[in-house]
Amino acid sequence: MQPIYEYVIAALLLTGGLFTLVGAIGLVRLPDFFTRLHAPTKATTLGVGAIMLGSVAYFSASGPGVHVAEILITVFLFLTAPVSANILAKAAMHLGVDRTPQTRGNPWDQ
């Protein structure tokens, strides 16, 4: 495997790991549920996506033939993450979980 691949893969993995971690940190640090909701939906999703790409790259580079099944998983995650976020937000609004005082505007509950 050419070194360049190795660097690319390493970079992809590290980025992915970083974003995953950031997502988790956000989950811990952000003040209320609605703000916390942002962290996984974006950071984590992206992080995992990056790791997937890393995997694709690694296996395609290391062995014969291309291996792209991870793409499917990534796409799946990108499709479902917003829905999970949406339905969780609905649940939270329904239960009227507390919001940080800074929040402007009001949630609905229908």
């Binding site: 495997m1 992915g16 997502g23």
Partner: protein, 95 residues
């Protein structure tokens, strides 16, 4: 395979460490709450991180045999989250 790619294996282990740490943080949030949605959110994130972990495991072991497991976690995690969330606001999951 990985063994003779020093940088990659180093990066790999760092990444695995980060994901593992992320999982710990998720569990912290999951245990802390305060509200049910927080827990479900943490669980959902946990699932996604688990996917990452599995993929990384596959690389570390240099096998693609865990790809379907990762796919399955994605599917099941989604359905699980949806079900839990629906329970929270609707009570009856299937009706």
């Amino acid at each position: 395979m990985i063994a003779d790619l020093p940088i990659l294996s180093w990066a790999l282990h760092i990444t695995i460490g980060m994901v593992a740490l992320a999982i710990l943080l998720n569990v912290y949030r999951l245990l802390k709450g305060p509200d049910a949605p927080d827990r479900v959110l943490a669980l959902d994130t946990l699932y996604i991180n688990a996917i990452a972990l599995i993929i990384l495991l596959g690389i570390a072991l240099d096998t693609r045999l865990y790809m379907e497991s990762a796919l399955l976690i994605a599917v099941m995690g989604f359905v699980g989250t949806v079900a839990l969330a629906k329970y929270l606001k609707r009570g009856s999951v299937i009706e």
